[in-house]
Amino acid sequence: MSIFRLALRNLFHKPWGTSLSLILAALGAGLISLLLLVSWQLEKQFERNLAGINLVIGAKGSPLQMILSSMYHVDAPTGNLPIEGIRPFLNPAHPYVETAVPLSLGDSYRGRRVVGTAPSFLELYGAEVAEGEMWTEVMEVLAGSRVAEELGLEIGDNFQSSHGLIEDSLLIHEDARPFRIVGILSPTGTVADQLLLTPNQSIWAVHGEHDHGEEEHDHNEEEHDHASHEDHNHEGHDHDASPPALSGGEGADKYDLTQPLTNFPEEQITSLLLTFKGNSVFSLNLQRSINENTNMQAATPSIEINRLYDTMGPGETILKRLALAIVLVSVFSIFISLYTSLAERKKELALMRSMGAGPGKLFGLLLTEGVLLSFGGALLGIILAHLGLYFIAQFVSAEYRYDFSAFFLLPAEGWLLLVALVIGVIAAFIPALQAAKTDVHATLAE
């Protein structure tokens, strides 16, 4: 029987003490592992969806809300922008702007966001048309890979979008020409997988009878309570009659995709994603200039995301401290468990010495028991953390359509196991030393 097996048998022989030490070690390691996993996944999601975007321009309001709604599609838009206001950035000959991707947000289909945009959106997120073809007409839609899979969308399918970002049959644009799926995108691992993309003009067509005259409305589309689309009246919106209400297909027919957006100065978009030709100074100056001199706001995604991290920071720090406290308690638990067991087992240890076991063997036995407790606990904790993440992923996926992968290992988790080994050695060292120093004669003569 190896020392390892004997150590295991000794631990199983005291199931309650062993369980307590294991649970404490598992709690500490599990919490740390879960924090590592969630924060890594969030960072990856944020990084992937940054997509090289340098600046986002939108309606005045919370810059973080604008970033979250325009780039991560998890919040409500801050409002709309007139095409006229962003005309310079839509000029392909702009000296500093590499790409300008206009977004028209606010509609959804069965809880998935319908985003009006330009073909350059696909380049931004590295998406390609995997099936079907690129849109050529208004009301044509490219479905992200995940949304197509989840909703069972196929090329040629038609649907009516809803106003707002929640699923509500009362908000369906029943009077508008239906959207038609013409293509399905390849998976990108970005937010593009979760969206239904259509030209901006499609959103204008659906909303033909709404004219949001000014961009200054900072409201949450999700909170709208429309009795019906035809008769609703947005508080704080300018519902003047220009352009005149379009019914059904009329809206769609008004727009021609061959014309640039700037040909429709009376229309609006929600936000504009900009990438620059490698000049960060220009980005900062432009951001300041827009924020100070216009009715629009501009925000740098990386700065806003860092702010978001800072907001989450204190909570994360508290959890980390809690995890460390639990780890510390688990070290003591292992130490106490082994130390008290020494008293119970001193005859047994002396007996082993009398049978030929050297002091090193007893030292190794106790050390192995400590390491098994800490390593086993940490392993259990990591497994539980992944299971926990799996359930969190189900919620996040259902709520925000974001994919959290639960079944992968971070290198940091390998380090966590290594630290658990060291902790086991530290916790067991003194009891192991005591075991090695067992006075066989005195113990057996008692």
């Binding site: 029987m1 004997l6 022989h13 047994e348 010495r353 030929g356 066989v440 057996l444």
Partner: protein
């Protein structure tokens, strides 16, 4: 042959013992009698190599082992000496048969599971092989303890008050088993006790009187 010449031991606290010389031929069986405090256990632990003598010489089959220390002494003890204690100590997490296997393993002998099982059968506790020690009666525990002492086929079998906790009937059985098994192995048997009931069973008797120096 076990030889102990001018064997002495002084405890760090000051108590000192000087023991009579021993010359025990192979297969001889000895009873060492003495009252409490007479140094019986000290002598036994010296002979077992659990204590290092502060004076004198010890040899078994012409091999000096009083000068061995550390792993050399552990290995010598494991290989040549079997011990049976007054109270039966076992590794609590292991079954009876596994305790026998462990004794072989710790002395770096080849673990012979069938032979160990057969030994338990011979000692009348084969049916308890898969039990834990605490599930056995005291008499059965002492038999299992004897089995463990014999498992490495030692040249020297030392028993410390093996019958002290037993009733007369069980004491007789344990005494007989010890003598029979030691004879089978050609081992020197030394039983240290204050139990006068064992007196008629042994040919050689040493009474430890005042061995304090």
């Amino acid at each position: 042959m076990l030889r102990a010449t001018d064997l002495q031991y002084q405890y760090p606290q000051g108590e000192a013992f000087r023991f009579p010389d021993l010359n025990c031929p192979v297969a001889s069986q000895w009873l060492i009698l003495g009252p409490s405090g007479s140094g019986k256990s000290t002598l036994l632990h010296l002979l077992a190599g659990l204590l290092s003598p502060t004076g004198g010489e010890l040899s078994l089959n012409d091999e000096r082992y009083d000068q061995l220390s550390g792993s050399g002494l552990d290995a010598f003890r494991g290989r040549h000496i079997g011990m049976i204690f007054q109270r039966s100590y076992f590794v609590a997490s292991l079954r009876v048969r596994e305790n026998l296997d462990l004794a072989q393993q710790l002395s770096k002998q080849k673990v012979d599971k069938p032979a160990n099982r057969a030994l338990l059968e011979e000692l009348g506790i084969g049916r308890h092989a898969n039990k834990y020690a605490h599930q056995l009666s005291i008499g059965e525990q002492q038999r299992a303890s004897i089995a463990r002492g014999l498992v490495n086929r030692p040249s020297l079998l030392l028993a410390d008050e093996p019958t002290a906790a037993l009733d007369a009937a069980n004491a007789k059985i344990v005494s007989r088993l010890l003598r029979e098994r030691a004879a089978e192995l050609n081992a020197i048997l030394l039983v240290v006790t204050h139990d006068e009931r064992l007196l008629p069973d042994f040919e050689h008797v040493i009474r430890l009187g005042d061995v304090k120096s």
